[in-house]
Amino acid sequence: MHELSLAQSVVEIVEEAARREGAARVESVRLEIGELSHVEPESLAFAFEVAARDGCARGARLEICRTPGHEMRVRDIDIF
């Protein structure tokens, strides 16, 4: 369940980017998660829902793109 701490990192990164852009709401978040990283995408998606519920990323759609390596990265976000 370390996915919860990773999800908290996702939310921190996303909220900071949204604030910088003056966004009111985050529509979707795209992550790159490597096949060799220590992440279970389904657990991460579930934990994200919980971690995001009090901020501007509440209800945002999480899209996880699997990549071949070790990376765990927020690639981009869609904002209003």
């Binding site: 990773l6 996702v10 927020v74 981009d76 869609d78 904002i79």
Partner: protein, 249 residues
């Protein structure tokens, strides 16, 4: 085209209609960047003081705390050893370590299933280990979650006891891949269990060809000399991992 919002119509502005399309912003930031930055800070701090720090990982019950107690007893009078104890709850392990005569800081992770570099950084402020000492960081007993988190350690050591399955390296490859040394503990129990130590080493090498292995019994003392020698080597900057032949205790 409206140049403010890019919509495909023309009209007189002021532009106060709702924008229905979201815009995409590139972020490109690593999920572990905060942890990794703190880990780098910890690593610099420890390296500057010549401290050899070991991140000890295993499943619960592999004998990490007993190994630490025996290591403290063996190093008494020769090397200072400090311990950061990670558990979800209680300070029982830190108390065992203090009773053995070493300084210890207990970190309770609550619901957390692993230590992170921030916790280790805070614990170091309290522990303030001496220059040239050994720092043992006993991670939360878990073969999955600690694998992702760099603590700023000099080496990661995975402990596997013979009362577990010898195929654990294949089932939890992440933690074995990231470790420089595998300790096979409780080898005094080998006659009573199905554990095949040679097969376990072969599996570990399959996921991490450079991993070094020491078979030992912390409780009975077999193999402890080799473990202490590895620690001393770490303090002197000897290579920590290698594919050299392993020796059964």
């Amino acid at each position: 085209m409206c140049t403010t919002c890019g919509c495909e119509h023309s009209h007189d502005h002021p532009h106060d209609h709702a924008h229905l399309d979201p815009r995409t912003v590139r972020v490109e930031r690593d999920l572990l960047e905060k942890n990794d930055a703190l880990a780098a800070q910890v690593r610099r701090h420890l390296a500057g003081r010549g401290i050899f720090a070991v991140n000890l990982v295993s499943s619960p019950g592999s004998g990490k705390t007993t190994l630490l107690v025996k290591t403290i007893e063996a190093l008494r009078g020769r090397r200072e050893l400090g311990v950061i104890e990670g558990d979800q709850e209680t300070s029982r392990d830190a108390e065992r370590i203090r009773a053995a005569g070493a300084r210890a800081v207990q970190v309770n992770t609550g619901q957390g299933c692993h230590l992170d570099a921030g916790m280790v950084g805070h614990a170091l402020e309290h522990l303030a280990p001496a220059a040239g000492s050994v720092l043992m960081i006993e991670n939360v007993g878990n073969l999955v979650c600690p694998a992702a988190f760099d603590l700023g350690e000099s080496a990661r050591v995975v402990v596997l006891s013979v009362t577990e399955g010898d195929d654990k390296p294949l089932k939890y490859p992440g933690i074995f891949r990231g470790s420089q040394l595998m300790l096979i503990n409780k080898v005094d129990l080998l006659p009573y269990v199905e554990f095949d130590a040679a097969r376990c080493v072969e599996y570990a090498r399959r996921v991490n060809p450079g991993i070094r292995t020491i078979a030992l019994s912390a409780a009975k003392g077999q193999g402890m000399a080799e473990w202490l020698d590895w620690i001393e080597g770490g303090l002197r900057g000897r290579p920590l991992a290698s594919a050299d032949a392993w020796t059964a205790a």
